[in-house]
Amino acid sequence: MDMKATKKKLGLKEKYAHMTRGLDWETTYQPKEKVFPQATFEGIKVHDWDKWEDPFRLTMDSYWKYQAEKERKLYAVLDAFAQNNGHLGITDARYLSAIKLFLTGISPLEYVAHRGFAAAGRNFPGVGPRVACLMQSIDEVRHAQTQIHALSNYNKFYEGFHAGASHQIERLWYLSVPKSFFDDAFSAGPFEWMIAIGFSFEYVLTNLLFVPFMSGAAYNGDMATVTFGFSAQSDEARHMTLGLECIKFMLEQDPDNLPIVQKWIDKWAWRGIRVLSLVSTMLDYMLPKRVMSWKEAWEIYFEQNGGALFNDLAKYGIKVPECIAQCTVDKEHQSHQLWLTLCTHSHAMGLHTWLPNAEEMDWLSAKYPNTFDKYYRPRFDQLRELADKGERFYANTLPMLCQVCQIPMLFTEPDDPTKICYRESEFQGEKYHTCSDGCKHIFDDEPEKYIQAWLPVHQVYMGNCWPEGTDPTAEGFNPLAKYLEWCHIDLARDGGDYEGSSDQANFAAWRGAATQNT
């Protein structure tokens, strides 16, 4: 019998070279700059696109193979989840507020990232980044889909999951924070997009979102989220590498690129950190069983990991963004300040909030010895006292929003945690307000862009956020109720305090039914 000779396969480096180079062509009947009109206006100079190399050396054939395997694993778990009452396995239904925030605030961003990377792939004249952007674009739409599929199992049982990824991202005041981040990036050029999303978000910040949070989901018994989270995160390692490669590439191509790249790093580090303040409340307040505090996560994933990165980038002349000094102060405060605001506005939200109980406040004191007892415990105590008297406090006016990050003006001065920080700029005779030196700096650099921001609170007050046919002059007109209706929120079920909510009652009843025969 003949022995079958094994054909020698191409090595990884050769295969990558064959399958990512020479795939494009020289244009003949249109000049190249008309085919790639966005490649130059940002001022980034590129001399040799072939210097771009994906360190994973991933080619499309391997990409399909491994992605298919990830999908099979994921959907097997989702079937098991649905077949085994996975929705009752979580620690308690308060946990679902974190998941609702994820579905409404993060999943739609995955979809925009899909579009943005498709556009970046189209707009870069180099083949290497185009292949990498194509893969990332497909990854991102996969993330949006798998997140929506995974969480749709909760939608069968709990409130607040019904319109997040469709209607609410465009309408709800707190969701305009993540939305504006991606709108800002997508409306920039392709190179700035890569710094904003590829570098700042994926490399510097995504670990803070996915790693401790998914580990938290595991700790809280949420099999569905852990699975889609880790499945998505397995792609993120590749995205992070793309972001880092991209920044090295720009800096190595031409020394003139340095000041442009530095400006974008400064801007997008701050934009990203502001968006992540939502994640700080997940870690410190929303997970019934906690993995680590926001401050600890920040120290591991930003200070240590980001520090190593900036040490490395120093050889190109990149400096640590100036905003880091403020972040070192903020890490002790931001989750508490934001959660207090959410607690007092959850009558205008699509998820539940609650006041931390005694044991949770002790955990917070231990994790935040410098700030929690001094500044925040007394405020929670006061809110608890009111709630116990049946006067749960909700703020009945809408907060002013920052023109750049769109977070309500709730964060404090860097040197005084008892004083709200306001900054003001003037442009074309109008005043604009920002929440911090970081956001003011971004506004002042491109005021023409940020004066166009769609700020939900302004729009509500202008009367643009009611269902069609609403008559604001009618007797008994309730603007908040009409706004919530327009956001597809049924306040009696979706918002307000967790205490007394239908999620709380249903979870208790069903879990009881799962362990007893009556």
């Binding site: 990884l12 994973f56 491994y66 880790f230 390692a237 992070m240 590498t241 490395d312």
Partner: protein, 89 residues
Amino acid sequence: MSTVFIAFQINEDTRPIIEAILADNPHAVLDEQPAMVKINAEDTLVIKRESVEELIGRKFDLQELQVNLITISGHLDEDDDTFTLSWKN
């Protein structure tokens, strides 16, 4: 000196990979967290195809790592035999 790291889901696929990494990188430190492990190492960390193959008793393609990978830090260099993270650029 800066730290590089790599994190994996905990499952039967990654158990031998983690074992191989710890054997090949005596300076690496294992950090176990719910559902995942993070391996930290000063400056550099290498995953060797041969070491993983030895433990699993079959051919292993380093790109299979991607299925269970959670995150990395440091510059990556991957070829057929090694997957290296480092801050020595």
